[in-house]
């Protein structure tokens, strides 16, 4: 396995904020992701959950597995509910509390994109996390606009293959000029932990896109979910990087706009899109032609990303990446 960075243990929150009793399936990436996220964020966090698998995973009334304040909200309102809570905590004088919206890809790419766009445009001081399992899993695996080309879902069954490429949510969010955007996954826990640690110190809308393996939805063996997620990054299907809007100007002695792309994880081996797809039952119906097209798209995106990261002149030698704020 590629080494990313070591987590300085003294930074870890002592308290385990996610308790046992989660109602997720075996091998669920979304559950593991929350555990890591909370390790990074710590106690002074409010979690906002719209309709998604996490509405269930967290536990049934009167129990909750999360040891921080949690509010469940309607499906399409994660971002703006967080905005409302932010405003209230500011009014209460508790500006240090992080308000995190934690939504699936359906709640983010599709039904929630309007309120997310609104919050991001206003640059409300919230953290928005999309755990992307690439379909509506809660309702039984239906396609979303995050479902990749060729993936089986119950609404893209055999004979009605998904031909439309996945929405580029990262670029959509960056087009809102937010101060921080990152991708991460449970396959690179140190990197993910550091990202959740650092967002606490960035004011404005922070967006983190997590690739989140889902054994029943992806038709994979639960014991392979982390491994397959790592392959997504190695195959450059899901690059792990971060983009920051502001940089410190030594000349002016203040922050100024200075877009900086940093690739946090460089693949340590050659892996094709096809090899990645072959690990999952959901891609069984994809055609050679489609795989070819997807590969081309993946390559083009990766090249663009490398260029952007190079262009900033700060391509990191340390794959752990940019830990400045």
């Amino acid at each position: 396995m590629q080494k990313t960075i070591d987590i300085p243990r003294e930074l870890m929150t002592e308290k385990e904020l996610l308790q046992p009793g989660l109602l997720s399936c075996q091998g669920c990436g979304a559950s593991l992701a929350m555990k890591l996220a909370m390790k990074g964020l710590g106690e002074r966090t409010v979690v906002v959950i719209p309709a998604c698998c996490w509405s269930i995973i967290i536990g049934v009334y009167p129990y909750s597995t999360l040891q921080v304040p949690v509010i469940h909200v309607p499906f399409e309102t994660a971002a703006v509910s967080a905005s409302g809570i932010r405003a209230a905590f500011d009014a209460r004088g508790e500006k240090d509390v992080v308000v995190m919206a934690w939504a699936g890809d359906g709640g983010t790419f599709d039904i929630g994109i309007q309120s997310l766009s609104g919050a991001a445009e206003r640059n409300d001081d919230i953290l928005y996390v999309c755990y992307d399992n690439e379909a509506y899993m809660n309702t039984g695996i239906q396609r979303s606009s995050a479902t990749p080309v060729g993936a089986w879902t119950t609404t893209t069954p055999e004979g009605s293959i998904k031909e439309e490429p996945k929405k580029d949510i990262e670029e959509i969010m960056l087009a809102h000029h937010i101060p921080y955007m990152a991708t991460a996954s449970v396959a690179y826990p140190d990197d993910m932990y550091m990202k959740f640690k650092k967002v606490r110190y960035i004011t404005g809308t922070k967006f983190i896109h997590l690739l989140s393996p889902c054994p029943p939805g992806w038709r994979i063996d639960p014991s392979k979910s982390v491994q397959i997620t790592r392959m997504a990054t190695q195959a450059k299907v899901f690059p792990i990087y971060e983009v920051r809007r502001w940089g410190f100007s030594k000349e002016r002695g203040c922050l100024e706009e200075n877009w900086k792309y940093t690739i946090n994880v460089y693949p340590d081996r050659e892996l094709s899109t096809k090899e990645y797809m072959q690990t999952q039952g959901r891609f069984q119906q994809i055609t050679e032609e489609m795989v070819h097209d997807v590969q081309k798209r993946v390559d083009r995106k990766w090249d663009e990303l490398v260029r952007k990261a190079d262009g900033s002149g700060t391509r990191s030698q340390d794959p752990g990446g940019d830990s400045s704020l």
């Binding site: 509010i71 509910s81 405003a87 905590f89």
Partner: protein, 384 residues
Amino acid sequence: MKQVIKGNYAVSYGVKLSRVKVVSAYPITPQTTIVEELSEMCASGDLDARFIKVESEHSAMAAVVGASTAGVRSFTATSSQGLLLMHEVLHWAAGARLPIVLANVNRAVGPGWNIWADQTDSMSQRDTGWIQIYCESNQEVLDSVIMAFRLAEKAMLPVMLTYDAFFLSHTSEIVDVPEIEQVDAFLPSYQPEFKLDIDNPRMFGGLIGPEYYYEERYVMHKDALEAQAHYQQVCKEFNEIFGREYDVCEEYRTDDAEVIVVTAGTITSVTRIAVDKLREQGKKVGLMKMRMFRPVPVERWRKVLGNITKVVVIDRNLTAGLGGVLGSEVQATLYPMENRPVVYPVVAGLGGRDVAPDDVIGIINYVLSNDKPTDVPLFWGLKQ
């Protein structure tokens, strides 16, 4: 201090005097000037609140749900399409037992686009669990905002106050704007029992099975019924401080009445004139102005309407396939009474069509000359 202000400004003043902490709203005619005025108050520091300028009414409602769950006094305002867009979150707010206050300027629902007075928008939200109060004058609008917060925070249910497009929203009237000290004495700061709190983490609104949900809703229903008693208490306290009397409904010349007209909103003012004129002709007519629509003040309605011969309900709203909402609710409420009156449901003035005193006189004369309603409902003033 007495001022000449429009209904929408009366709302803004009420919000300011109530020391609201979070406002979120989205512009729609005829509510827009509330949003403008509140933005200005927040910008100038006149109102120490955060104004979240959202991208839709759905988000406006969701934002105040978030803010209210975090324990601060929150307000929004809308109209028509905006209120309908909020529908899902209206249910959420009430189910979550949040004391949010919403001002709705009653406007017709499309298509076609019609910005004039019509109460179909708020009447069609009657099952959301919100307390609903219908206002007739700008003074009543301002006072109701302040009372609404007091009531909402006692009942732990959201309150929607409504008033007619243009007839009030854009019409100037003399309004006695209360002093802030008086309002502070009436409306203490909001101290919720439960809120999003880092030191005392709780989960709100999560998964709940059949073994609890039913009772949850039953409790909500009971609390909604109890809100009537809270409301009466609030009105009493309000009267003591401000010297203005409000009630769940208002009776006008009902003492010896044989016919009572039931109205909501500005048609009430018109009906008062009609009643006076008919009284001059010796006709025993009275008026019941419906102020509180949810919870339904069942006992009061029965007391006022139960022992007279005829009741006319004028609805400026329509539930197609049935008629007017208020008419059907009055009938349902009176049905179990032994000597129940004959109810004449009338629909009038949809989409801002003018309803003048002569229209109401015409309606009452029709009622007086028919032992039973000929049409259920009667669509008054329909062009042939």
